[in-house]
Symmetry: C2
Subunit: 346 residues, 2 copies
């Protein structure tokens, strides 16, 4: 596309700081003739405190008209747990049918992993984004009494599972190693688990070139620590994907580098790109936040919009920058953004 | 107790091999005047193939009369996923109301962790064992068609949460660091999460000496890798506990050392002790299985039955044995059992 009409939700805490760097790098990397328009949306803790609103319908509607959304981070300890997550972040993922929650994990050269040895880590998690235990289908009875019962229902549909599994096969088929691992817990969660496994096996028949594998989620955490090189593409449910991708971020040098895309592959709705990390109010305003995860999320955004060369340039810039970070004095959020903007511009 | 009437379920794969070593060490450590009676129950894959039975009522009733149960491992690839897990292992945990699933994690001296540096790891996970997503309350509609819907319901009760949270506070209060961390995902699973958090906070008022902390499950996996020393006692739901304890086993040198107890603290039902690892059919019969996790589970069993000194002797023997393992040629399952039996007898 020769123009990008981007919605920006800086959000809370370090969200604004890292988003500023993401936009800086985005402007620097885009060819002159691609027109970038951005519109900021004031959503998050501040807004909720001021007006009680999380995501009014009018704003949801306005967001819908954009080509994509860049989000910083949402959440603050002053807001009751769940209010912004359910009312804003998950509402966006569900309303815009972001069924592919894409989370690449790569140990960049020269980046310290907490794992001993120098494991090779380069895999992608395709996390389902619109079903499972995240649907918000729960309740509580006799709340606050000794007789309270609380439920959470995980909803899984053939429709929802098949489309994300298919997306994962496509991604696996396009990678050199062509390997896809399904992660679930089908020996305990037998109904949801069998739905996933059956669809995984059936769709797999259409991709004979892709090697497949199944792991229970508990075993998958062991392999992520002991043998992360075994993974190429992982497809998994919303909750397992949440857990595995934080662990994946940890083993690849931390949450400061983990990017994600909430993607609606059909294009019917704008996709949304955000770092995996949270709003980190403890370091907000100190210049300590690493904007790299946001900048890598901008690369995912560009890739999604068809600007493949620009996406690759950002990845290369980050790789080169990280190689020089080892041992060097710590830089501020702004300095890292500047350095990457310079690199991608060249 | 001056006698122990033990039920033994060797189970499948390496189960029989490791249980034999557990019993060897148990016999060696017990004082002469404690009478040990064991009765073996033939349950698992072989039995299911032969008779179609997983756990007949008569055997459940018979198991009930024992002081405790020692279980090896259940499961074989030849049995459809879920049949033995739901029909035998989880059936036992639920029928005997094993609401405290106790899983200590300790990095023994001289044991290699996959984590770089030499982190200090010594914590206990108190995993809820009778509720949550494990209740088996799910179903599927239009199974096998493109219109399939599958559900899994997580059931959580104040009754079930309070008793396990209280048990965890007691354990934390009895440890030097007196720190208890609740792990859940209360920003997404708001109904179950708030039930857990409210009870955790309320019961905490009775334990002012215990420092408390809350982590989302995704963040907890990061800390387990980056800062495992921060954990002392963790209390969490059935599914999160399953995931975290496999990860905990991985960072403490592997599943070959991870012990567990499925405990009914009231004593109304026999408690059951088992290694965290599975039946590992790939190495069954090769003598490669490490029986240490089972032997440490025997220590938990002894502790539960009030034989504290004997439990401690096993732990010390394992510590000493592991210190000598580093660099030494690999020993067989039997040799490790013999070595530990000799050590505890002294
Ligand atoms: C903030 C929270 C709702 C979110 C999630 O659980 O998906 C976050 O952990 C993530 O992984 O993006
Ligand atoms: C075999 C399986 C049912 C079991 C569980 O999920 O609890 C196992 O993983 C465990 O941790 O003991």
């Amino acid at each position: 596309a020769r123009s990008i009409n981007l919605a920006v939700i800086p959000g809370d805490g370090i969200g604004r700081e890292v988003v500023a760097q993401g936009l800086k790098v985005l402007s620097a990397v885009l060819p002159q003739d691609v027109k970038l328009e951005t519109k900021e949306y004031d959503l998050g803790a501040r807004r909720w405190h001021a007006t009680g609103e999380t995501l009014p319908d009018a704003e949801l509607e306005a967001l819908r008209s954009h080509d994509a959304i860049l989000l910083g981070a949402i959440g603050d300890p002053s807001v009751p747990s769940g209010v912004l997550e359910r009312g804003l972040l998950l509402k966006l993922r569900f309303a815009f049918d972001h069924y592919v929650n894409l989370r690449p994990s790569k140990l960049f050269p020269n980046t310290a992993s907490p794992l001993a040895g120098d494991p090779e880590i380069d895999f992608v998690v395709v996390r389902e984004g619109t079903e499972g235990p995240y649907v918000g289908n729960g309740g509580s009875l006799r709340t606050g009494t000794p007789a309270e019962v609380a439920t959470e229902v995980s909803l899984n549909t053939a429709h929802g599972v098949e489309r994300v599994v298919r997306d994962a096969y496509e991604r696996a088929a396009a990678r050199p190693r062509k390997k896809l691992t399904l992660v679930h817990k089908n020996n305990v969660l037998v109904y949801a688990g069998h739905l996933w496994k059956n669809i995984f096996d059936r769709v797999g028949e259409e991709y004979p070139q892709v090697t497949t594998d199944y792991l229970h989620v508990d075993a998958a955490t062991i392999f992520l620590v002991n043998d992360p090189a075994r993974f190429d593409v992982i497809v998994t449910d919303n909750l397992f994907g949440d857990i595995l991708t934080d662990l994946a971020a940890a083993i690849t040098g931390g949450i400061g580098l983990a990017a994600s895309g909430n993607i609606n592959p059909s294009g019917a709705f704008p996709s949304m790109f955000e770092p995996v990390h949270g709003s980190a109010p403890d370091i907000a305003g100190t210049g300590k936040a690493d904007p790299t995860a946001t900048i890598l999320s901008v690369a995912l955004l560009l890739d999604h919009l068809g600007h493949r060369a620009e996406a690759a340039r950002i990845e290369e810039a980050v790789t080169a920058d990280l190689a020089e970070r080892a041992g060097a004095p710590a830089r501020t959020t702004d300095e890292i953004g500047d350095a990457l903007a310079v690199r991608v511009a060249n």
